[in-house]
Amino acid sequence: MHVDNMLFTFEKGARKIQLSYVIAKNDFSKAGTVASNIKKTLRKLGISSDIIKRVAVASYETEMNVIIHSHGGKMYLRIDLEKITIIAEDEGPGIEDVEMAMKEGYSTATSQIRELGFGAGMGLPNIKRCADDFEINSSLGNSTIIKVVFNL
């Protein structure tokens, strides 16, 4: 995991934090380090454990999708007074049929990936379940952008 940029601003007591992370394609040695860092950051801020767990699961699934299915990308953690936002933006190849990708059990993971324990096709549905608000934007040949919001 590589923390790329950190921004902390406190304006009139209003908390605003942004952290960004760089994720490399197929870098299984660092798998989970982004989600782990996000989890630790939230714990330090004293966020409730129920929310932390939901953010951790969603972040981990998001991070693994970037590692496994994309050419690499970035993840962002944004925290303000009302909400926590996780954003992932990768460098493609994009998803041909997003509706299909959202279905439980749908996966294009190879047998090699499945041997590592991924490819149940449960990642995107898991992210949606954990979130208060979930957006996915993708098409073949383009970036996949995911935005996951958790209300505080």
Partner: protein, 118 residues
Amino acid sequence: MKLRDIQKIINAKVLTGEKYLDNVIKTAFACDLMSDALTFKEDKTLLLTGLVNPHIIRTAEMMDISAVVFVRGKEPDEETIKLAKEIGIVVMTTENILFTCSGILFMNGIKGAELARR
């Protein structure tokens, strides 16, 4: 049931986390795919798996699961143990197969974990 009692009844060897063996376990689930694990609700939960790699430990970390049992005599590599030690997760390994382990635990009052729903 305390982890040290679980260790005895499933005949397991503790690979890391000796100091947490007084932690209590109420529920368990068994699976070999990370995202399947990530659909469960943690409630003093034990994870049983035949898959041995550091990703299992990461998955446990995200879910606040405090103990993992590798079945069928599978021994994790150093990296897996190191990560578990760092996070503070108990890791055990047993010669018993998944079915046998699950059966023993169920007979001793450990219940299946519930799915997380919202």
